[in-house]
Amino acid sequence: MSAAFAYALVGVGLFSLGLYALIVHAHLLRKILAINVMGSGVFLVLVALGGRTREAQPDAVPHAMVITGIVVAVSASALALTLMLKLVAETGRAELPTHRRE
């Protein structure tokens, strides 16, 4: 049981690290990677907590949720990368332009 709990903690740790990176880094590719790391953290928590059952078999429902989540994450990453490429093509830099005050 404690192994599963440790994995869950690692997952929360990944989430936090990813959050920090998302906020701090300016380059879009790093931000996208940070999101993916956060996503992996959440999935890790889901799977790990699913392992904490009294029966020998881990609960399969969180696995189904994680697979769904991975599909969503892949689509979202693909979209994010495409947007980033378009933004680079438009502005020449892979960073969010600072909000123009008008």
Partner: protein
Amino acid sequence: MGAVFTDIPWGVGLILLPLAGGMICFLWPGIAKIAGLVTAFVVVLSVAGLGWQILDDGVYHHTLGGWGAPLGIDLYADGLSLLMLAATALVGLGVSVHSSGYFEGEYSARFWPLWLFLLAALNALFLSADIFNLYLTLELMGLAAVVLTALMGGRDALSGAMRYLLVTLLGSLAYLLGVALLFHNFGSVDMAILAGRVEASPAVRAALGLMSAGLALKIGLFPFHFWLPPAHASAPAPVSALLSALVVKAPFYILLRLWLEIFGPLSEGVDALLGLLGAAAVLWGSVQALRQTRLKLLLAYSTVAQIGYLFVAFPLAVAAGLTAWSAAAYLMLSHALAKAAMFLAAGNLLRFGGHDRIPDLDRVVQRLPLSTGAFALGGVAIVGLPPSGGFVGKWLLLEAALSQGRWGLVAVIILGSLLAAAYVFKVLGHAFTQASTPHEPRAVPASMEWAALLLAMGAILLGFLASPVLALLGIGDPFVASGVGP
């Protein structure tokens, strides 16, 4: 005929029809406009059918594929879901009509499949009965919305869309973490089952915090609103209408459901915090709106302010639940219709003059009277002047606040209305005067003007329909759950 109506699984149709329509538009771009319009119209009819069924049989319940909770996907619709579906369908129809004139050629081929996909996601969201399905539909909706924002390219739209995408993904992940915690502790993601099992514990509070924060980020509640004005203002006008009217309401609907079903009794302190942030949103958003010189930015900041009103209902609901939640629901509906109308009207003005600078609107009151009228009527609903849906919402909110002696919130509500009047009439005032530099106007198709005007008239009409709408809202008792007061 009654039996035929109640046998059709309207809920499934509401999800599948737009998906099918979207596929058709994607595969055959030549007929995209027609297919899109037809789908939007059929969706309106389906919502009417669902409404009929709910009035006859009570709450709508459907298990997909025969596999119910806790493993399968359930569809559930009570009064609140029905009204959100109706708002989506009506705004959707209006935006579809407007878009048929707004988008041409390649943009049109891209718009219609994406918009119908968004519609399917929205409908699925309002019909969901478990928190994981809500996550899924929320993500789908978010992705579609991001692409729609970036549809016509350009630096502002692309960066607005990118920022929006990162924010929405962050919010979803926080929400999902909360789902994980809840599932682990109580063994189910179905809302009805969770409502019965949940009890106060650190894990549940953590879940409450995570999910609220994630959803607040996606709604654009102050201080998480920074992404909203750039995204809503730089998107094409029909997309802005969809974003402000529907896309920000969906996460609020989820937060409301979670609050009512699961988190309500455990929420001391959090409702006060949400109320405070809502009040700050109302004041900050309204002041910022007043300072803008571009019309679409003004409307985007107005959305930030109006979202704040929805959150003011949270602290009021502790002692006057039914009034406060009815107010929030009514404000949501009214804002959806009114803001969509105003964004569509702004799109017309943009098409007409080539710009949306407020001081240079150049006597549009006589040259585009329908669009100006739409903007004015929508503005009346936003300010909350009678007779309009906004007035009913504001009255109920004030009733809840005054009956509890919450003078601070009363002051915020009134001040917000005055500021809203200031920025709406600032725009209307410029509509009467001549611009300093005249320009050649471009024609605006009548369908675009009428789409805006009819949506605005809907917002006004909502003011006269309070009794039936509030009765409809009560079906399934969404607001009398889990010990939250009368």
